[in-house]
Assembly symmetry: C2
Homo-oligomer: 112 residues x 2
DNA sequence: AGGAAATACATTGAACATCGAGGTATATAT
DNA sequence: ATATATACCTCGATGTTCAATGTATTTCCT
């Protein structure tokens, strides 16, 4: 496929970038928000999220800073960079093209 | 994720099932049709398709029969079974839920 | 006060999917 | 004759995700 790595699995990146772009967020929070917003269609696992977060940071799409709660709990917040916003836009486009393609393949012959 | 294997990568199965369900087809033809119908959003590789075809057949979603062209070229046609049609319906539902979920995550905050 | 559950971070090994490259063979076009 | 398209297939490398596991703190319940 043309999209596979940059979409099928890249949908993870897309989702994470999208959440963080809306508001700075920390790991645990991202998982929660994803579940909420998708109405539990997604339930991303920590083992999936953290490596993605690290690679997004390494690639310069996100920056991280630590902050303590009133309670004293440390959280690692992520913030999207300009580069990250551009990447997000690109991945959104890719997703739309992919989804439209699937729709076209499924639609003809027996419109759901 | 909840869907990953049954959707992200399972989108391959969905796509193939959908093509064959519309009309019996052989391997090479499936790749061509997928490219056409999706307006080149997908370009499935043979190394991806044939293993999928074999596993769909093994699982009873497809049956195969051989046929020769006027030219004398042998083709292995695939036909969808009742079980395959049910699976297709199920995977379509999954896809729709997934796509809707992504849409919801992307949509809020900055409606494209 | 004590214990369970939720919060919050992270890593590792196994499983799985896809691709790229390679292989075989026939038909058609140049 | 030779190159390209058709048509099937396999294998190894790569990359992604998950389940399991680990640590530590905070909050809730009894």
């Amino acid at each position: 496929m043309k999209f596979d790595k940059s979409l099928l699995s890249g949908s993870t990146q897309l989702l994470v970038l999208s959440i963080v772009a809306q508001e700075d967020a920390y790991g645990y929070e991202i998982i929660t928000k994803l579940a909420e917003k998708s109405e539990h269609a997604f339930e991303m696992k920590e083992g999936t999220l953290y490596p993605v977060l690290h690679s997004l940071e390494k690639d310069g799409y996100l920056t991280a800073y630590e902050q303590e709660t009133a309670g004293g709990r440390k959280r690692r917040y992520y913030h999207v960079t300009d580069k990250g916003l551009k990447e997000l836009a690109a991945q959104k486009e890719q997703w739309n093209a992919f989804a439209a393609g699937v729709g076209r393949v499924l639609g003809e012959g027996s419109p759901a």
